[in-house]
């Protein structure tokens, strides 16, 4: 495997990668339904649920940088945010008896309901 130096940018739930001297990205990875795995030293990989053996590997400059990226990427999906929101909503409701989403007028939206994960 050949390692190529890339500028990598995490923007919402996309990981863009650029050649280091170019302004336009050469590619992007949508970070939904993916697994971030620590590989050997300074290296992490991204793989996707429907093709788990295909790994996109990234080598960092340091172990610290590697951990930073792993933490950031694990939280990068919209689905993760959705789960966090449902979790907080539920906890607040349990503690205060009030639904915090009511003030935003979004409490009835299907995407914020606790029960359903299959639609």
């Amino acid at each position: 495997a050949v390692l190529k130096k890339r500028l990598v940018k995490l923007v919402v739930n996309f990981l863009f990668y650029f050649r280091t001297d170019e302004a336009e990205p050469i590619g992007a990875l949508l970070l939904e339904h993916c697994r971030i795995t620590k590989e050997e030293e300074n290296v992490f990989s991204i793989s996707f649920i429907e093709e788990p053996e295909r790994k996109y590997c990234f080598e960092c400059d340091s172990e610290e940088q590697c951990q930073e990226w792993i933490e950031a990427l694990k939280r990068a999906s919209y689905e993760f945010m959705r789960r966090s929101l449902i979790f907080y909503r539920n906890e607040i409701q349990k503690m205060t008896g009030k639904d915090p989403l009511e003030q935003y007028g979004i409490s009835e939206e299907a995407r914020f309901q606790l029960a359903t994960r299959k639609q």
């Binding site: 940018k9 995490l10 923007v11 919402v12 739930n13 996309f14 863009f16 302004a23 336009e24 990205p25 050469i26 590619g27 992007a28 990875l29 949508l30 970070l31 939904e32 339904h33 993916c34 697994r35 971030i36 996707f48 649920i49 429907e50 093709e51 950031a72 694990k74 939280r75 990068a76 999906s77 919209y78 689905e79 993760f80 945010m81 959705r82 789960r83 966090s84 929101l85 449902i86 979790f87 907080y88 909503r89 539920n90 906890e91 607040i92 349990k94 503690m95 205060t96 915090p100 003030q103 935003y104 979004i106 939206e109 299907a110 995407r111 606790l114 359903t116 994960r117 299959k118 639609q119």
Partner: protein, 258 residues
Amino acid sequence: MKLNERSVAHYATCDSPTDHAGFLRKRVERHHHHAHHATSYQRRWFVLKGNLLFYFEERESREPVGVIVLEGCTVELCDSAEEFAFAIRFDDAGAKAYVLVADGQAAMEAWVKALSRASFDYMRLVVRELEKQLEEACTSLAACHKSPRRSSGRKRHLSNPALLPVQEKPAILENGYSTWGSGPDRDGGHSKPPPLPPRRRSAAGSPTGSPAPGLSPTLQESPVSPETACFAKLHHWYGQEIAVLRREWQERQKRGHP
């Protein structure tokens, strides 16, 4: 520009939550050789998941023909010959707008509402606000318990956080490989909310003040940023790729190949 399109297509069609779905007519501008424009509309099946609006040729299609990333955009009603039309416009001037037509007033309103709130940034705002509220709730609850009680009984109040069962906690912070309740507990057993995704760095610096009260739609970071150019490229690319593939397939069909 490359994209993990197989994963994207899989995400579009798998059973993860769909935030909205339905038929819409999508405006298509055709530019002919003689430089006159013909406007037509194509009926497509649209599926909104998170900040991604997929569209399919048919409801039963196994792969989307396109995806619109709903970041750095506004959704507004459209002045158009068509009734029930609305547009998705991007802050990046180079990105083309999408004009969509719904079946009726109710459908149009539902779509505009759903799409206006679909962005990742909106979601992040709400999550931050709730995290703050939860911390405040925890703090005030802890403060209640610090005050001395004169009760002779040693009964604990039911709302003591230490007694709350930690259920539905997303302990494994994976993007979709969610394993609720299993795996190492990173917070050492205390019911602490999961930490938030890192803020996108903007050219203007990163203020970390609390969000404006009342959940105003204006973000602290400018929605116009270099990143929106990336998304415009992504839309354009996906559309082109599908068009090319389609033509090739049609040609092969004509030549009698399977």
